[in-house]
C-alpha cells in the first residue's frame, strides 16, 4: 500500500517568545533528540517519526500542547520544521509546498470561513483556487452541501451558520477539490453531542470511500471509534502507534484508580502496591494511582491504607480499561 505521509526525525523548536510572535498552542519545555534547547526555547515536536498509509484513518491523540497541531501545521506547509523531513503523497513539505497543497484538504481547529462570502461562495472560490472550472466547481459545491446537510444554507453568510453547520462547511471546503489526504484538527471541539455524532458519520463515510484521513483529537472515544490506527503523542513525541484494540491490549491491564490525597502520596505506595488484586501502583505528588483487575473491589482497602498513613481523600477517579488507561500508564497523567 502506498505511503500517504512520512515524517523522519521531525523537529520544531520555537524561539523564545518575544511577546509578539507566539507559537501555536502551548507546547512544553523539553530538550531531547536534538540537544538541549536554549533558554526560553519551546520544543513543540521532538524527533517525530510517523508514517500513514494511503486509505488509512489515523487519529493523533494527545493532550493540549502535545504537538498535534504543530504536526498538522508542518504537514500542511503552514509551519516550517526546524529539522527533519516530512512528505505528503510523495511531495516534500519544504521542497515542494505547492505540490503538497495541491493534494491536501485542511479542516482547521477554529472555523475560518471567508466571512465576506456566502457559504456557497466559500466553496466556489476555494474550488477555483484549485483550478476547477466554474461548472465543475458549482456541481461539486452543491453536491457537497447536499451531502453534508447544508443544502438550504448556500446563500447564508458564514456568521449566520450554527457551530455544527460551520464545521461542516469547513469539511465541504476541504473536500471540494478532492484532495488525496484530509487533515482535521480537533474537528469536534465545541460541537454539541448531536453535531459531533453527525460529524463522525460524515468522517466514517469519507473513510469508507477510501480517503486518507488524519485527525487530531484529545477525546479518547473519538480516536477509538473512528481510527484504523491511533498515534499517541505527548510533549512532541510519538509514544505509541497502533490499532485501538492493540493499544488497549498494551494497557497495563485493569482499571486505573486515582486517589487524590490531602498530602504526599509517597508513604501510601508500598502498602497499596501489596494489596491483593493490585497490578501496579505509583505515586505522583498528592496522587496515588493504581491499576487493579476490578476497580470496585480494592477501593475500600485503598481507603484504609490512606487512613493508616494519616491521609484524607479529596477525590477518587476511576478509568476503565481504555486508551485513557494506556495514556496514563505512558505519560503518568490524564489526557484532559
Amino acid at each position: 500500500m502506498p505511503t500517504a505521509i512520512r515524517t523522519e526525525r521531525l523537529r520544531k523548536v520555537y524561539p523564545p517568545p518575544s511577546g509578539r510572535r507566539r507559537p501555536l498552542g502551548p507546547p512544553v519545555l523539553a530538550g531531547e533528540g536534538g540537544g538541549p534547547p536554549a533558554a526560553g526555547e519551546v520544543v513543540a515536536l521532538d524527533a517525530l517519526d510517523f508514517e500513514v498509509q494511503a486509505g488509512e484513518f489515523v487519529g493523533l491523540l494527545g493532550p493540549n500542547g502535545a504537538g498535534k497541531t504543530t504536526t498538522i501545521g508542518v504537514l500542511t506547509t503552514r509551519i516550517r520544521p526546524t529539522a527533519g523531513t516530512a512528505s505528503v503523497a510523495g511531495a516534500d513539505v519544504l521542497a515542494d509546498p505547492v505540490g503538497v497543497k495541491q493534494r491536501i484538504g485542511v479542516v482547521p481547529q477554529r472555523p475560518n470561513p471567508d466571512r465576506a462570502l456566502t457559504a456557497l461562495e466559500n466553496l466556489l472560490f476555494h474550488a477555483e483556487y484549485f483550478g476547477l472550472d466554474r461548472r465543475t466547481a458549482g456541481q461539486r459545491a452543491r453536491d457537497l452541501m447536499q451531502r453534508l446537510g447544508l443544502g438550504s444554507r448556500g446563500d447564508a453568510r458564514a456568521d449566520q451558520l450554527s457551530g455544527g453547520q460551520l464545521q461542516r462547511l469547513m469539511i465541504a471546503r476541504a473536500l471540494v477539490h478532492e484532495p488525496d489526504v484530509l487533515f482535521l484538527d480537533e474537528p469536534t471541539v465545541g460541537l454539541d453531542p448531536q453535531a459531533r455524532l453527525a460529524l463522525w458519520d460524515i468522517l466514517r463515510d469519507l473513510h469508507a470511500h477510501g480517503r486518507t484521513i488524519v485527525m487530531t483529537t484529545h477525546y479518547m472515544e473519538e480516536a477509538d471509534q473512528l481510527s484504523d490506527r491511533v498515534a499517541i503523542v505527548d510533549r512532541g513525541r510519538l509514544l505509541a502507534f497502533d490499532t485501538p484494540s492493540a493499544l488497549k491490549a498494551r494497557a497495563p491491564g485493569g482499571t486505573a484508580i486515582e486517589l487524590h490525597l490531602d498530602g504526599d502520596a509517597g508513604p501510601t505506595l508500598d502498602q497499596a502496591g501489596a494489596l491483593p488484586g493490585i497490578l501496579r501502583a505509583e505515586a505522583a505528588g498528592d496522587v496515588l494511582r493504581v491499576f487493579a483487575e476490578r476497580g470496585g473491589d480494592v477501593i475500600p482497602a485503598l481507603l484504609r491504607v490512606a487512613e493508616t498513613q494519616g491521609r484524607g481523600i479529596r477525590d477518587i477517579r476511576l478509568f476503565p480499561p481504555s486508551l485513557e488507561t494506556l495514556f496514563i500508564s505512558l505519560t503518568g497523567r490524564t489526557i484532559e
Binding site: 502506498p2 503523497a89 510523495g90 505547492v98 475560518n112 465576506a116 472560490f125 483556487y129 483550478g131
Partner: protein, 268 residues
C-alpha cells in the same frame, strides 16, 4: 515526485489561481462599494469643502490655493485607498480571523497571494482617484493651471503611487496587531497626511529648510508632487524623474520588507 497509488496531478497555472483570487477580492469590494466610496472620499472631500470652497470664499486663503490643493487631495485619496484596502483586512486576517488561510492553502506560492492583494489594492486606489477627481474639481470651481496634457504621466504616476501605498499596506498589515490599529491612524496616517505636501507644494517648504528635507522620508510627498507634475505642470513641483525614481525605489523596498513579514505571519 508522486508516490505510487496517487494519481498524477498536473500543476495548476498560477495565472488562473491569481484570477480566482482577484475575482474574490473584486466580488467582496463590489459588495462593500458604498462603504468603500464613503471611506475613501469623505475625508478628502470634507477637506476640499473647507479649504477649497469655504475658506477661499471667506478670503482666508488666496484663490490660487486650489491649484496646490487639488493634486494633493488626489494623492491622499489614491494613496490611502490603496493602503487601507490592503492593510485593514490583513491586520484582521493575521491577528484574529485567520480567514486568509484558505488562500494560503491554494496550490501556489504564498507570494502570489500577497502579490494579488497588492494588485487589488492598486485597483482600489485608482478607483478612488477616479471618483474624487471630478467631484473635487466641481466643488472647487475653475482651477488655475489645471492642464492634464501628459495623460501618460498621469496614468504612470497614479499606478506607481498606488503600488507604493499598496505594498506599504502589505508591510503595515503584517506588522500591526489588531489592538494597535488605532495607533496606525494616529501615528502613521495622520502625520503622513499633514507632512505629505498634500496641502502645500514642497517648494513652499523653502520657508523652513529643515522641514523641507525631513519630509522626504514621507512617501506621500512624492505622490503629491508627482500629481502636481502631471496635472498642474506649470506650477512648482519636484522633477518628475525624481518622483518616478523615489516611487519605484519605495515600492521595491516595501514589497521586500512586506513579503518578509507576510511570510513570517503566514508560515510559523
Amino acid at each position: 515526485m508522486t508516490a505510487p497509488g496517487f494519481a498524477e496531478r498536473p500543476r495548476i497555472p498560477a495565472g488562473r489561481v491569481f484570477l480566482a483570487l482577484f475575482r474574490r477580492d473584486a466580488l467582496v469590494a463590489g459588495k462593500e462599494l458604498p462603504f468603500f466610496l464613503l471611506r475613501v472620499t469623505l475625508q478628502p472631500l470634507l477637506f476640499v469643502l473647507v479649504f477649497g470652497y469655504l475658506l477661499p470664499r471667506m478670503g482666508f486663503v488666496q484663490p490660487g490655493y486650489t491649484s496646490a490643493l487639488l493634486p494633493g487631495i488626489l494623492a491622499i485619496s489614491l494613496a490611502f485607498a490603496s493602503l487601507q484596502s490592503v492593510a485593514l483586512p490583513m491586520v484582521a486576517d493575521f491577528g484574529w480571523t485567520r480567514e486568509i488561510e484558505d488562500r494560503l492553502l491554494a496550490p501556489v506560492p504564498i507570494s502570489l497571494v500577497a502579490f494579488e492583494k497588492v494588485v487589488a489594492g492598486v485597483v482600489q486606489g485608482v478607483i478612488a482617484a477616479l471618483v474624487v477627481l471630478p467631484i473635487a474639481r466641481l466643488m472647487m470651481g475653475p482651477i488655475a493651471g489645471l492642464d492634464i496634457r501628459g495623460w501618460g504621466w498621469l496614468v504612470g504616476i497614479t499606478l506607481l503611487a498606488a503600488t507604493t501605498f499598496s505594498t506599504f499596506g502589505l508591510l503595515l498589515g503584517t506588522i500591526i496587531e489588531p489592538a494597535q490599529i488605532g495607533l496606525m491612524f494616529g501615528f502613521i496616517v495622520a502625520p503622513m497626511i499633514f507632512f505629505g505636501c498634500a496641502y502645500y507644494p514642497w517648494q513652499g517648504l523653502d520657508a523652513v529648510p529643515v522641514m523641507k528635507y525631513a519630509v522626504l522620508v514621507n512617501p506621500l510627498v512624492y505622490v503629491s508632487e508627482g500629481m502636481r507634475a502631471a496635472i498642474t505642470p506649470s506650477l512648482p513641483h519636484m522633477p518628475i524623474w525624481l518622483v518616478t525614481f523615489a516611487l519605484l525605489a519605495l515600492s521595491g523596498l516595501f514589497w521586500r520588507l512586506g513579503m518578509r513579514t507576510f511570510t513570517r505571519r503566514a508560515i510559523g
